[in-house]
């Protein structure tokens, strides 16, 4: 994962630099001045990870930077499922539905408690948005 992530950073910065070569003269000064050293640093990190990977004994893995990983399947599925649904259908309706489903499935709450929580959230956010004149955009499908 470490090597993959370092390589991804290297690739993104490298691609950005290639695109920046076509910028207007004045516009490419900073991207190049920052991008070239960044690419070198990212490349250095890739090389460092490759060397570590080659030196590693078979079956051995890197010690984790965090004791509890942030990237794990179930939390990712819930979070990104919600973000994706909110993007497509709009936050206003998806958020209370997500709260309801999550509380039922993960917190094992009764339907009454979960529905009350979702309704409370909807009421607070709608009141706050209305009072402050905040705009909640519709989903991408309804634009």
């Amino acid at each position: 994962m470490r090597l993959g992530f370092a390589a991804a950073i290297f690739a993104v910065v490298g691609y950005g630099l290639v695109v920046a070569l076509d910028f207007h003269h004045g516009s490419r000064l900073f991207p190049l001045a920052i991008g070239i050293p960044t690419l070198i640093l990212a490349g250095f990190e890739v090389v460092r990870q490759v060397v570590r990977w080659r030196r590693r004994a078979p079956g051995e893995s890197d010690p984790p930077a965090e004791t509890i990983p942030a990237v794990s399947r179930i939390p990712l599925a819930w979070t990104y499922g919600f973000i994706g649904a909110a993007f497509l259908f709009g936050v206003e309706w998806v958020a209370p539905v997500f709260i309801l489903v999550y509380l039922l499935a993960m917190a094992r709450w009764s339907i009454f408690k979960a529905a009350a929580s979702a309704a409370a959230y909807y009421l607070i956010i709608t009141t706050l948005s209305g009072a402050l004149g905040l705009r909640i955009p519709p989903g991408w499908l309804y634009r």
């Binding site: 910065v13 990237v71 990712l76 958020a95 905040l134 955009p137 991408w140």
Partner: protein, 500 residues
């Protein structure tokens, strides 16, 4: 000076007039409420109440607006500490140690330290505004675009010290942040950079969404994976508010120093409130004993330094607004509107002919900070109890709030794609040991650096490199980099000794 002393009784009478005081209290309550909700902040509430302020008495309107501005920067640390979700741009660095403390079962202590430091920082900022009245003109005019560029460089140099034991990764992350900050319209030539024909990217990536993605999502994913309460363990605790207050008092010198940084950052128009917390955090990290080993893992000094600075900047920000009519932020721009609508003409003359009004503003700021800080300290223990609620009950609400805050950035559903992307990047950075603060600092500083570099060069050629404040700032940048390298060597030497 005599003028100032003579004007004090009149200013106090104006502030403590019942109706004025009532509107100030109302402003504080509204500010505390909106500040605690991520992504909203005091600006929205101020913008909403702006039309109402036009029909109010001048002092009542100013008191209400100052109440919102001061109080919202006190309460915005609660989501940062409890969920790792920055409540506003000025609460980004609070996440690092504040949330770590909450996860160690010391949420109340972190909140106590945060609120008391914010209150003291606000008072120091107001005190500075009072003392600066006679020298306001000289102070603000000392900073032109070359000085602002050089100050931005200090921020970039700081990315090294914000990188923990991975300075190369930190510098690469900082560079990536600087590049990401260049997406959109180039302010100098007007051409487009890395927009890929997307209208959404013309204005660049929204800072709030990037910050929520980098910090909010990874912390939440980690909490959800653990499945326990935020404070964790079999018998979760929240610590004591009083302990946090004592921590702040014990670290009074840090409060003063970081408040000075906050005031300075606020005073300089164009530097922006989003960098103040990182400047303060970097300073505390560089100067506090043993900070390199403990910061980021739940060191209370990381909370105190940041929150004192974030609130002190309000006093500093009023200086150019009042004496030059130059607002340094969106919040002070709204305050300026209130001044103008009520016939108050900002300018150097306020330092001589409008002393009573200026003092009334200072006293309102003091009162708003005292009131806002006290209310939050009283509520702190109850707020901290959220950290012992099982995470599966808290997490759906928090995710929903993060998503709600994100779509407020540009009111475009594409904000959610940016949130998702940076959430994933943040989570991978966390898991692979890449420091996240340098990326965000680079992202914030990128437009500042580029804009002021081009203005300086076009206006002065390269002669600006010899200006005194530029030389001082460049020297500080070098000092910061050398300090970070020395600290890293020290840590490596100590680790080698432990291994031996």
């Amino acid at each position: 000076m005599t003028e100032i002393l003579n004007a004090i009784p009149g200013a106090l009478a104006e502030v403590f007039q019942l109706s004025n005081l009532g509107f100030l209290v109302f402003g504080v309550v509204v500010g505390l409420a909106v500040g605690a909700v991520p992504g909203i902040g005091g600006f929205s509430a101020m913008a909403l109440l702006l039309p109402f302020s036009f029909t109010m008495e001048a002092q009542a309107a100013i008191g209400m607006m100052l109440g919102i501005a001061a109080a919202s920067t006190i309460s915005d640390t609660a989501p940062a500490i409890l969920f790792g979700v920055p409540g506003s741009a000025a609460a980004q660095a609070t996440v690092l140690d504040g949330h770590a403390l909450a996860r160690k079962g010391e949420a109340a202590r972190a909140l106590g330290a945060s609120y008391s430091a914010a209150m003291l920082g606000g008072l120091v900022g107001a005190g500075f505004l009072l003392l600066a009245i006679p020298v306001a003109r000289v102070l603000v005019k000392a900073f032109g675009s070359p000085e602002l560029f050089a100050l931005g460089l200090i921020g970039v140099a700081m990315t090294g010290s914000l990188s923990g034991n991975a300075p190369l990764k930190g510098l690469a992350a900082g560079g990536l942040g600087l590049l990401l900050g260049m997406i959109g319209f180039d302010q100098v030539t007007g051409s487009l950079r890395w927009t890929f024909d997307s209208l959404y990217l013309y204005d660049g990536l929204p800072l709030v969404v990037v910050a929520l993605g980098l910090f909010g999502i990874p912390e939440l994913l980690q909490l959800m994976h653990g499945g326990e309460s935020i404070s964790g363990g079999d018998e979760p605790t929240v610590g004591s508010i009083l302990e946090g207050i004592k921590d702040t008092i014990r670290n009074w010198f840090l409060v003063i120093r970081t408040s000075a940084i906050g005031i300075f950052t606020g005073t300089v128009p164009g530097l922006g409130g989003a960098v103040v917390d990182w400047f303060a955090y970097g300073h505390a990290l560089q100067t506090e004993k043993g900070a390199h080993e403990t910061f980021g893992k739940g060191d209370i000094r990381g909370v105190i330094g940041v929150d004192a600075a974030a609130n002190a900047k309000d006093g500093g920000g009023l200086l150019p607004t009042l004496f030059f009519g130059v607002p340094g932020s969106t919040v002070t721009a709204l305050l300026l509107t209130v001044f103008l609508v009520h016939g108050i003409q900002p300018g150097p003359a306020l330092a001589t002919t409008g002393v009573e009004l200026t003092l009334a503003i200072v006293f309102s700021l003091v009162l708003a900070n005292l009131l806002g800080g006290s209310i939050m300290l009283l509520l702190g223990k109850s707020i901290a109890k959220i950290s012992i609620v099982p995470i599966h009950i808290v997490s759906p609400i928090v995710i929903a709030l993060i998503v709600f805050a994100s779509v407020q950035a540009t009111s475009n559903p594409r904000d959610l794609l940016v949130l998702g992307l940076f959430g994933l990047v943040g989570a991978m950075m966390k898991d692979t040991g890449w420091p996240r603060p340098p990326l965000l600092v680079g992202f914030i500083l990128s437009p500042i650096l580029e804009r002021y570099y081009f203005i300086s060069t076009q206006r002065y050629g390269y002669s600006w490199l010899g200006r005194p404040w530029v030389i001082v700032s460049l020297s500080v940048s070098i000092f910061v980099v050398v300090g970070a390298i020395r600290q890293l060597r020290k840590v490596k030497r100590q680790s080698a000794e432990v291994v031996e």
